[in-house]
């Protein structure tokens, strides 16, 4: 299996007291029942994170996190505010480096390639690992169509046919095509909040990344727009590896295949979503998903 545990990870004894155990991601092989969402065929790790620690100045935000993120599946990251969810997500495409004092230790491999290798440019990593943010942020100086193709155009794609094709394809994938196909030349800020967020997803998809990171993509949206985004996430899973940070427990339960629970910078528990929400192994996970704290 690709998802075998590393020695460091297996140090967590399943029966140990919940409060003191180090990060203990669950092995997929340990699943008592077959996970309904995951295909039975062997899962591929799109991102293999090993012993990841992230510091901002002297403050350690992530503590020795190890996790394997399955390809073509949705992995949800949950946890209370300040637990390091967003930092974890940003370390996956090196966006945390925008903070000058940020420092990381450990190893992250994208399809077996070290994304923190000496000769690896953050720019290249970010082309392969796209990102959608909490607040929709279409570029206000550009039209809807220009927003979709901006990543391609500014990376040197000039061919109009290619751009037009990619515009339609990306907008269709983002479930926005039918709503905007007649006004691609309208300013992007003329769209509603939910549409803007789907436009941002289309923009991220247009550069054809391998992994899509989503940082609370629906937290600023109304329920209808939220459900559209969730449908979209389930749909995108067929082609993309998705990692989504969410504060919304129902959203994690509805839209993800695997769920990781972070608390105070540690990975407390990682496993199939159904298990995390119905039969968590750690008491802290249970307390959190049942709303007793957080």
């Amino acid at each position: 299996m690709n998802l075998t545990m590393t020695p460091e990870e297996t140090k967590a004894v399943p029966g140990a007291p919940a409060e003191k155990s180090p990060p203990a991601p669950q092995r997929f092989e340990n699943k008592p029942a077959p996970a309904p969402a995951t295909p039975a065929s062997r899962p591929v790790a799109a991102l293999a994170v090993k012993n990841l620690s992230v510091f901002f100045g002297k403050h350690q935000v992530l503590k020795n996190v190890s996790i394997n993120i399955e390809a073509r599946a949705v992995t949800a990251i949950i946890g209370p505010s300040g637990c390091g969810k967003s930092t974890f997500l940003r370390s996956l495409n090196r966006m945390h480096e925008l903070v000058a004092t940020a420092r990381m230790e450990g190893d992250i491999r994208l399809f077996d390639q070290d994304i923190y290798g000496k000769d690896v440019e953050p720019v290249i990593v970010r082309r392969r690992v796209g990102m959608v943010f909490q607040k929709s942020n279409p570029f206000p100086t550009m039209t809807i169509g220009e927003n979709v193709t901006v990543g391609l155009r500014l990376n040197g794609v000039r061919n109009r046919a290619v751009l037009a094709e990619q515009t339609e394809k990306s907008l269709r994938m983002a479930a926005l095509w039918d709503e905007v196909k007649d006004r691609l030349n309208a300013p992007a800020v003329s769209l509603s909040g939910g549409q803007q967020q789907r436009l941002c997803i289309a923009r991220a998809l247009a550069v054809q990344p391998e992994v899509l990171l989503m940082d609370e993509p629906a937290s600023a949206l109304d329920p209808l727009a939220t459900s559209k985004i969730e449908d979209l996430i389930r749909e995108l899973r067929k082609d993309y590896t998705i990692v989504i940070v969410t504060h919304n427990m129902q959203q994690a339960a509805r839209a993800s295949d695997h769920t990781a629970f972070f608390y105070l910078g540690e990975l407390v528990e990682f496993g199939p979503t159904s298990q995390i929400f119905t039969n968590p192994k750690q008491k802290r996970t249970e307390d959190y998903v049942t709303g007793r704290f957080g």
Partner: protein, 285 residues
């Protein structure tokens, strides 16, 4: 607990008094502007005619002639000043907002603010030393350089301020698409802040358009059309100065008209500022 009615009356009276004070102060601020405009129009409008805009000064004591050379000269000097002030100011502002360490930036900001406070005649002396002395004569180049020096800190600071106002999220979105930082700045951040930057440039131009002191021994003034930028050039503020202190009635009248034209020019720049900072297409920034 009941609300005392005397208390209520007293409170209303206080509110009314403070309101009156604020309105009075606002009127005091606007009144001089109105008086100046009124006086300028009363004194100067009668001298505005085709000759004034197209002609050059006639010999002292003779009636007629105009300030066409000075109006064009001021525009030329503004263009020259922008060639110096805009690139340095905008690129410096980009550096402050997007690159640069905090300590270095604080120093640059501090010195920019100090430069901003340097009396404008000092900039005239700097341009005199740098251009006039080596060339051995006054020139438009020297005048433009002096005004450009004054523009640099103004453009620098406003550029920085509007760039900082561009939300972080746009930069992050661009970087997350795999764009390098310079492309993010040139293609995303600068266009978003363009209106603000243009506003800052126009404000700086409006500021230097009326400068007289730095032109005294750089551009020097010219009673004829400027044929070459290496020659002395006329400028409205200089011409107004010379005409206003002259003993001839006609020149005094023309000085009023020149002042009216100068105010109209800066007014147009302010209109441009309003146009560019108004925001038609985009909502934020």
């Amino acid at each position: 607990m009941t609300v005392s009615s005397t208390n209520h009356v007293w409170r209303k009276a206080k509110s009314l008094a403070m309101n009156g004070l604020c309105v009075g102060c606002a009127v005091l601020v606007i009144l001089p502007l109105g008086l100046i405009l009124f006086y300028l129009i009363q004194k100067g409008a009668s001298s505005l005619n085709w000759d004034f805009f197209s002609g050059v000064p006639k010999s002292p004591g003779t009636v007629g002639g105009g300030m066409g050379n000075a109006i064009v000269g001021t525009l030329e000097l503004l263009a020259l000043a922008s060639f110096v002030g805009v690139p340095v100011g905008v690129l410096g502002g980009v550096y402050l907002a997007e690159y640069g360490g905090e300590r270095l930036n604080n120093w640059i900001r501090f010195w920019a603010d100090v430069l901003n406070g340097v009396p404008s005649i000092v900039w005239g002396m700097v341009a005199y030393a740098l251009v006039v002395l080596p060339m051995k004569h006054f020139s438009a180049w020297a005048g433009g350089l002096a005004l450009g020096f004054i523009m640099i800190p103004l453009v620098l600071r406003t550029t920085e301020e509007v760039l900082v106002l561009v939300p972080r999220s746009y930069r992050e979105a661009a970087l997350a698409l795999g764009l390098p930082q310079w492309k993010t700045i040139v293609r995303i951040v600068l266009p978003t802040a363009l209106r603000g930057i243009i506003t800052g440039i126009l404000l700086a131009m409006g500021r230097v358009a009326g400068e007289t002191a730095p032109l005294l021994f750089t551009a020097f003034g010219n009673s004829n059309w400027n044929r070459h930028l290496a020659e002395p050039i006329a400028a409205l503020p200089l011409q107004i100065f010379n005409y206003a202190i002259s003993p001839y009635d006609d020149w005094n009248r023309q000085a009023w008209a020149g002042a009216l034209v100068l105010v109209a020019m800066t007014f147009c720049l302010s209109l441009g500022v309003r146009f560019f900072s108004g925001g038609r297409f985009q909502k934020n920034t």
